[in-house]
Symmetry: D2
Subunit: 333 residues, 4 copies
């Protein structure tokens, strides 16, 4: 009864999805795999007993035995494959970004609207993290009144050398852009960017500080520092009229040792968001079975990319930049 | 390919297992259910699409379409059903206690030894909790040296009226007895019990404090207070020669509100150990597929019950009581 | 042997200083008091046994029996009294602000330079808080590398009605401006201000978010929200190249009660910074005895006010504002 | 107006008291010092400008210029000096223990009763620690109902080699005995002791676990481990009918560094209880001026020693030991 899933892209993310499908997601099973490197696809197929290795992404997408698709291939291919899935009428979970350019994002939305059915979910997995969900509930129910500030911190232990100041915004901070929209339930209007001095460890990129204003004047702040060395550290505090609610990472044990009293810090996002990834797949499969889509829509993917584009412009110009999304199609209401 | 599981007992625990099988355990699926109250069995069967409702536990156990069994029926039935599963050659996950008396526990072990194959896992789910696992690793690897003390706290928000001082030991503290053996990897030798004064809310039972000594003179302490009102609170601290490692519950968000800065406390063990229950089933199913048994063995179930019996004796006599397990069968080495 | 101190201003702050002099500061004793409301002065004098009540601030300042002066009178009087103390050659601890205008701040500095001797300490008591001091040491010693970000939060439980958006910056955020300079040891170059929407409880003023850049491109952020209701909450995190160090308030006990696990939050700054006020007076008295001045200098007081002025300008103009301090006199090096 | 204090014993504790008198205690000043090592006494006297060095403890006690006495000399001398102070009619702060034997403790009480005036305070400084005070208030006001358990942990980083298992109880756990009586406001009735295996670092002494029962059946537990290496760690949790209140040490900053998120642990009791020592002296001086005595009385000192004696007996006998204090003199009511 479980959904037959095809996986495009068998790198780190794709392999993690395959593992979750195998061990934790009764509602779906891996039926097909494709990767430009056939060996990687075969490795995953053999581990999952029974998944077919396809010769191309389009063959996988179009094969009648594949009911839904996970797109975990390089960013530049996302838009094309997403549109292929839409045309084939197949639900797809597309890793972020939705597409490489805003125009291509719009093309994906146009195709989806044209098809008349919501099929695309963008893999902003944090929306399935228990902490963010509790924060969203608190915001929606105004448990501590209306939100006034949302403070986000995004620190990686070590970023690859090819990451530039631009990519700090486009690759990493984009997760914060999506989660801000998710938590606050409204659009970002203006983006300002402030560059801190570079760390001596990574002199080619600057840590960035982003200040955003929503339509209703909530202030959203994002610190993005990808060379923090001490560990992976994502934080969020939602400051409301009469109280504040913060993310608290899952740290199963505390240690007292060698003059210290505290906790081990996660090394990367896979450890930090393991639950979010698992729950994302589970709920995605369940939604497919129920004929709906959960999580971030194509519009959400587009909006996050549009904020990132505005942030890049703000960084380049040294001045605040407006986010112009255009009118939201009724299809995504 | 997933293991076809029969479920005996469709109360709270049984329903939770059914839900986990359905939503989180690709390696197993619910194929049969039995409950003395047929309506409860039918409710679960219909929710899981396709599970057959059996007219008796023994029919379920003996049916060739059932490959493995979960026993979640009343305590008094555990031993009989476990022996039934052993005779049918079927792996079983039996909720604690393994059996209602020590003699019956020994009968289960005798049956299993007689069958020549390990089939019984006792549902001490905490052994699958990520925090306890990290503690066990720390102990085994002597990361902070050898253990000296293990301090355990077991508090329930509200206990049913029928719980007596005896049942504080037999029903609740028994989880601590098992986890102490799990963490330390050795047997308990002596048990002392101290009764605190009763809470005014529950004057029929006393909170208990238990001090145990292991063979190698590690001191294990357990506070068991079942009327703590403020919430469900299970703690453990393993004090080793040069450091201490403590459980830290998963609290996804922190709140600052109305003069407070802190966290919501779980209301019961199902919320606190949700991950442990999920992982337990996943690994149980995986182990069945691999022909082995993980988790607490019948010997472990017997040992926990034997410690509880010694504790009851110590409570009754007002003096320390030795735990006499007899020789451990090589079968359980 | 203790320094004979005259106190100008016997309101809440003045009374607190008097109490600290009496009970915790062997190096100083209250010898004279003045308040526009003579009754308040007499109340303090009688409680401290032996302090003389003066008929005017200038009489107190000029009296030979007074060796040093604490200025805790209304803000508008600070500059005049500080200059009076300088002319009388008496060390003074002047509550912030140093003076009501930047010109008056400059006049105080000119008088002090003219006198050739450092006499003025501005009462930025946080510089004596153990937490901030540890942060400063960590920054100076580059324990976790050079600073990149400093994030500050300033929340009051309830602000008086007369506080406007302007006063959020000038009265409250000014503490953050000083502490940023203290921690980082360099000047602020540019200030940007973002106004969040007002709380429904206090619609006449907006919570403010301030982003500052130092000469060496450290980014300093300040959230200032004076109607947070849940309590008084001052936070600071210094993010350095390879680690982060945060303030952790002193909360002597943790409570588990009614579904909560956490801490009481302080209601106001007097509770939060009780140690800082005590240590400030002790070290001030000790420094006088040793012929020197510790804590914030007149230059520091001027700089904090200048940043506040730039922030007000940024708020009014809706654009970043440069902080132009002019050249720092060698006298304050 | 401040009380003229004589200090007997100029070791670590005595020197700390002298420093506090000089810098933090306006209500008292050091007027005389004595130490068997005259050089140590002279060093302190010269640092405090004006304290006279005495040739013997009794000269100091009897000198009319000395109004009150701090006894910080070796334990064996406490009783004799305390009686000397009583006979001289001078308030005394006597470091614990009150006297070397229970008989001598009784002799001190007899002398004090004979004199008809409370003069002796035993230096159980924890009674002045803000955390313990909040706990005591919570207990007295039954904020979370009546106490059921008090759990205490006493860990030192490194103990001197001469500390034996006996001294673990008599020297270290005695602080817990006093604080338990302080927090609960009632006497200890029975003491049981369990020895854990020794650490490989300190094989000559065993960590001890003590279980005590009060008259009203509150269970008090104490873990005493003096070789914990990772730091000095004193904890207390008061478990009441509907909530629990725990000590939370003052840790002014949190660090995230090198894979860790946490706090530095104190190295010893002087850092941990610095505030308690300071407040103890301040309130002692204030009470003398007011003609009263605060803190632990001679009866409290006697009771703590009597519990320690019972614990030693329990350790030796391997069986619970009753604490027989005899009737409490009305003088100490």
């Amino acid at each position: 009864m479980s959904v037959k899933v095809g996986l495009i892209g068998c790198g780190v993310m794709g392999a993690d999805h395959a593992k979750l499908l195998l061990g934790d997601t009764p509602g779906a099973r891996l039926a097909g795999v494709y990767d430009a490197d056939r060996g990687r696809a075969e490795a995953i197929a053999s581990a999952t007993k029974g998944a077919r290795v396809f010769g191309s992404a389009s063959q996988l997408i179009d094969d009648p035995a594949i009911e839904a698709v996970i797109i975990a291939s390089p960013d530049a291919t996302h838009g094309e494959f997403a549109i292929g899935c839409i045309r084939a009428g197949k639900p797809t979970l597309c890793e972020k970004p939705l597409a490489a350019t805003l125009d291509e994002c719009r093309a994906v939305m146009a195709a989806e609207i044209d098809g008349g059915r919501r099929l695309v979910q963008v893999g902003f997995m944090r929306r399935f993290d228990p902490g963010y969900r509790l924060m969203k509930n608190a915001a929606r129910e105004e448990k501590a009144g209306r939100p006034l500030f949302l403070h986000c911190v995004h620190r990686n232990a070590v970023a690859p050398d090819y990451i530039t100041s631009d990519l700090v915004l486009a690759n990493s901070a984009v997760h914060e852009f999506d989660i801000a929209r998710f938590l606050l339930g409204e659009e970002i209007a203006i983006v300002s960017v402030f560059s801190a001095r570079a760390s001596r460890r990574a002199e080619t990129r600057c840590p960035q500080f982003i200040v955003m204003e929503t339509a209703s004047s909530v202030i959203v702040t994002v610190e993005a520092y990808l060379d923090a060395q001490y560990g992976y550290d994502v934080r969020a505090e939602l400051v409301c009229e009469s109280g504040a609610i913060s993310l608290s990472p899952n740290r199963p044990v505390a240690l007292r040792s060698a003059g210290w009293d505290g906790f081990d810090v996660e090394r990367d996002w896979r450890a930090r968001f393991a639950d979010a990834y698992r729950i994302q797949l589970k709920e995605w499969a369940g939604a497919i079975a129920g004929g709906s889509v959960v999580g971030a829509s194509a519009w959400d993917g587009y909006a996050a990319s549009a904020i990132a584009a505005a942030a890049l412009e703000a960084l380049a110009r040294g001045a605040p930049s407006a986010v112009d999304l255009g009118a939201k199609p009724a299809f995504y209401a």
